[in-house]
Symmetry: C2
Subunit: 320 residues, 2 copies
């Protein structure tokens, strides 16, 4: 354990999209921009800033073009979710860097989520992908419910392998495999990755865990042991779980970074500044976020702990 | 990873003591008894039921004798915290099965917690231990802050090894090594256990993790990989963190059990009944508890999910 971990980890911050789209409160455009700037100030180099899904479905992110237009972060790879050709037209106006597509690994989830079979989803996805590649954009694709589907139960690694191969053959640059309902345990992660890796380049795979049952970080550990070096997370764990009201959803970025730094993986992220950003997010959303590290660090700050800097330092070693 | 895990795990439930002593609300004796009975109904065989620390310090557990007297659970190993000879006299009246002692691994934490140096703590502890062994009681000892001390920073594995050896030489049957402020990362756990194991029998060691920074389960995984088969946890994560108000404290028993079942370790515990007990604890304390699995399972129940039984089943594999 911990003998051959990737030294450098790419953290993809999905809070401004995957987080905010699942929060009840709709926050103003200027505040979204402040939040994204606070995230960039932590050293995060990959941020999903919004979504071009129809505002009819995701009213919280109806201002995607305005948010994108207000951002001036040349060092950050800024992506946005693109569901179809219409969304792609808006994406191109936005001046962002990376297209993010999405699909499901199970037929039932695909039908419920986008009213398409998996094969139909591939057709729609290829249309956008071809244009994006032609226009020179890198393309990422989320694959939902790769371990457990809320309608079908366990998804087979063979199905996930077929989908991953097909996405790579379309020229997609990065595939984010999602444990959408947060039900996987680390043995499943190791098994899945070992099978997918027989056919795919590990460097193109990202893992996207939810902390619904507390297993997000043990699954990250399994991913690291399997050689995966890209992980998605959401500031403070913004977003919740659409399948269980009140439950935790996305893995919190601070929890991920605390673990990674503790076991010696570099992220380029300043954990104390992440806490600043998390505090801002709590203020904007008017609620406590579920991230564990955030709660501990803010608890210490509120208590007026004189050693607050070292409480939330990057080393993960000394906490007074 | 996961190749040589212990097949059978002993879970020590500390909620009625370590949990309730840190909750603001003082719940009536009869409700404590109901809660302990609900825990026993899950299949838990080791429950710390109360504390004989002076009611002046822990008023929440002033009714330890009454709680113990009302319990009729012959199949459960019922322990209680015993701080000194006076507490031991009360323990003997209570009809419980196991004495639980406690000390700190760092000088500063020991001074702040019990106003004794580590050496002075050993003297007081040996007095109780000798009597308890003479009277035929098994003895467990908690060692606090074995990884990080809130006053001194990192605690050396050599110090923890010395303490562990000395406790075992006194005849103590089980030593629970505690990450009291929830700051350890799994590399520290592996390093610590590998050093302690050179001098001690692994079967006598338990691990007690806090989820303050989200690392409790990754540390359990590191403990499992290191061959430790006894883990402490608290129903729903009752107890909070005394060092950071509002932050998470004890590892939640449901999160632990979900992970263990998922990776194929047997616990003898019914996860769905744990959720029942967690719901009762929330009702008695009048608040939402921080455990992740509990929040997800109760969210599903509230939503009226028809597949609630399989949502919270023991296999940890299929969640609809």
């Amino acid at each position: 354990m911990f003998e051959n971990l990737p030294a450098q980890i790419k953290v993809v911050e999905v809070g401004p999209r995957d987080g905010l789209q699942n929060e009840e409160k709709n926050i103003p455009t200027a505040d979204k921009v402040r939040l994204i700037e606070a995230l960039a100030a932590t050293g995060l180099k990959n941020i999903e800033v919004s979504s071009f899904v129809s505002p009819k479905w995701i009213p919280q992110l109806a201002d995607a073009l305005d948010v994108a237009g207000a951002l001036n972060l040349p060092d950050v790879n800024k992506s946005a979710l693109v569901p179809n050709l219409k969304g792609y037209e808006r994406f191109k106006e936005a001046g962002l860097n990376q297209v993010a597509l999405f699909m499901s690994a199970s037929e039932s989830h695909s039908k419920k989520n986008i009213n398409k079979s998996v094969d139909e989803a591939f057709v729609a996805l290829a249309e956008v992908c071809d244009l994006a590649k032609r226009d020179g954009y890198p393309v990422r694709c989320y694959v939902s419910v790769v371990f457990e589907c809320p309608y079908e139960g366990t998804v087979s690694p063979e199905q996930v392998t077929r989908i991953t191969e097909r996405l790579l053959s379309m020229g997609i640059d990065e595939i984010s495999l999602g444990d959408t309902i947060g039900a996987a345990t680390p043995n499943q992660v190791i098994d899945m990755i070992s099978r997918v890796a027989r056919h795919c380049d590990l460097d193109k795979l990202a893992l996207h865990f939810h902390d619904t049952r507390g297993t997000a970080l043990v699954n990250v550990l399994a991913g690291l042991e399997s050689g995966i070096s890209i992980y998605d997370s959401s500031l403070g764990g913004m977003g919740g779980c659409p399948y269980a009201p009140g439950a935790a959803g996305n893995l919190a970025t601070e929890d991920l970074v605390y673990l990674l730094h503790g076991i010696g993986c570099d992220t380029g992220i300043d954990l104390d500044r992440l806490v600043d950003a998390g505090l801002l997010a709590q203020e904007l959303l008017g609620k406590k976020l579920p991230g564990r590290y955030l709660g501990a660090a803010l608890g210490k700050r509120q208590k007026g702990c004189p050693a607050v800097e070292s409480c939330a330092d990057n080393s993960g070693s000394v906490v007074r």
